[in-house]
Each structure stands twice: as structure tokens, then as C-alpha cells.
Symmetry: C2
Subunit: 135 residues, 2 copies
Amino acid sequence: MMKTKDYELLLERKGLKKTKVRIALIQHFMNMEHAQSYNDLQAALVSELDKSTLYRNLTSFEQAGIIHRINDHTGISKYAFGEPQIHGNEHAHFVCECCETVYCMEGLVPLQLNIPKGFKTNNVQTVIKGICAKC
Amino acid sequence: MMKTKDYELLLERKGLKKTKVRIALIQHFMNMEHAQSYNDLQAALVSELDKSTLYRNLTSFEQAGIIHRINDHTGISKYAFGEPQIHGNEHAHFVCECCETVYCMEGLVPLQLNIPKGFKTNNVQTVIKGICAKC
DNA sequence: TTCACAAATGCAACTTGGTTGCATTTAAAT
DNA sequence: ATTTAAATGCAACCAAGTTGCATTTGTGAA
Ligand SMILES: [Mn+2]
Ligand SMILES: [Mn+2]
Ligand SMILES: [Zn+2]
Ligand SMILES: [Zn+2]
């Protein structure tokens, strides 16, 4: 008997069918430490994959909390493994202005903002631009 | 003799020609307290305006520091009067999840983030999602 | 194991925010 | 008034993402 793979558990728990596309996708996300764009994914997933299938799965995964979508202010969405919320706060993202890599910054202190009266804050998203350690 | 209008000064100082389109645009921005999308502008500027002309002027204005472009994570750029930097830091933006209005939050304390070793921060952009005072 | 059905896939056509090339017009310097 | 570079308008284009629909596939019940 072989033990159930972690990605299988993940898909099962979310009530998503275990298809070839999804298993390839989810494994790729688990191995990648940086955020991935549609093009990154298409290039990485050897067998050419239909555009709408890929986008639909990204949406499903996002809704299921398997991945999170990142807006790095380039106009192109990036996706990374895991939920966006860590202990209730959205984590920040670092965008390297040199190599374009998008990093999830898990360990940062959440910023404290005193919003004007009458405004109710639900969620704060932070994008940090700069030069990464590799560049 | 009439005194020079403030928008005239602005255009002159930046070395931009004072065209009808630009004067209409710049006046509109000065009267608007909220950020404006391409569609907002097109709807507001009575005389129908060419798409590329509008976009080109938005880019010129942005480069000249007359307006700043805001990414509110909807995928549609918004523009607001003034420079993005207040005393060296980018100001935060509040996006109402109810009425979609984007507010420039000028008075917020600059946040201190301790970025991992090797990463150099150039600029921090913050988008706050919530419910505005009017909603 | 087979059957039935809902959900996932693939393909093509579409939408939308934004850009580009080029001919014509216009602001402004001389 | 003349000249010239920059601004405008138009059409064609581009890329990211979405949608409708016929076909295939995973899964649970028979
Ligand atoms: Mn992240
Ligand atoms: Mn602003
Ligand atoms: Zn880098
Ligand atoms: Zn509101």
C-alpha cells in the first residue's frame, strides 16, 4: 500500500477532482518558491496546456485557498502556493525591479495605519519594490 | 491684465504645450478629490476624446509629476492629481469595496518593515481595502 | 465492472485596457 | 506670417483574461 500524496489530500479536502492538469499544476506550485505568472506556468508545464483550462484552474485553486493571486503592479497576475492570510493578515510581497521575481514575505510585521474616521479597514495589501538578494 | 491660471503655470513649468485637451484634463483633475479611471475621465470630459490622446496625456502628466497612477488591484489604472511621493514616501490608497472609490490617504504614518538581509527596499505601495465613510 | 452524470477540458471566438504607426493639425518660437 | 516640433485623431493592433459549447474524464452508485 502506498500512502496518499499531499497534493491528493489537498484536492480531496477541497472537493476538487484529481485531474492530470491539476496534479501537474499543484505539484509545480509546491516546488516553486516564487510567484508564477500564466506564462511562467505555461512554460514550465511541459505539455502545452489550454489557456482557459489553466486560468479556470488558477481561479478554482484560489477560491479553494490552495494558491493566492498577487498583484505586483505590472498588470499581470502572479500566483503562489498557500493562502494569502497568515494569522489573519495578508502578507506582503517583494517585487525585484531587476529580475522581476515576486517573493512572498511571510515574516514581516503587519503595518499599523490610523485610517480616518468613518473608514473601515478590511484588508491591507503591501507591495515592496526594490532589489532582491540575488541581484 | 488677467493673472496666469494655475494649470497654465503647471504646464509651462513642465514644458508641456497648453492644448485644449490638456487644459480640460488638468482642470478636471484639480476639481476631483478621488482617483479617476480612463472611463471616468472619458465620461466626465463632455467632448468625446480620442482614446490614444487621453492615454498619452495621462502618461505625459504622470512623467511630469502632475498626476500619479494608482494600481488598486482591479487591473484598471486610476489616476489622481499630484505626485505620488509625500516627503519621500509613497502615500497609501484606500479602495472602497462598496462604491469602488479610490482615495489618496495622505496623512498616514510611514510604515517600517524589516526586510530580510540582502533585499534593498526602494518603495512601498499600500492598498487598503474596506468600506469608505460614505458607504 | 460497468454505467451515469457532473465536472473538467479544449477550442474558438470574444472582451477589454492599453499601445503603436502614420497622416493631419496646432502651439509657440522666430 | 513662417516654420517646426509636438499633439491629435484614426485605425489597426496587442496581450491578458473570459465565455459558450461540444467532448472527455473522474467518481460514486449500481
Ligand atoms: Mn504571497
Ligand atoms: Mn494617491
Ligand atoms: Zn532580483
Ligand atoms: Zn464607498
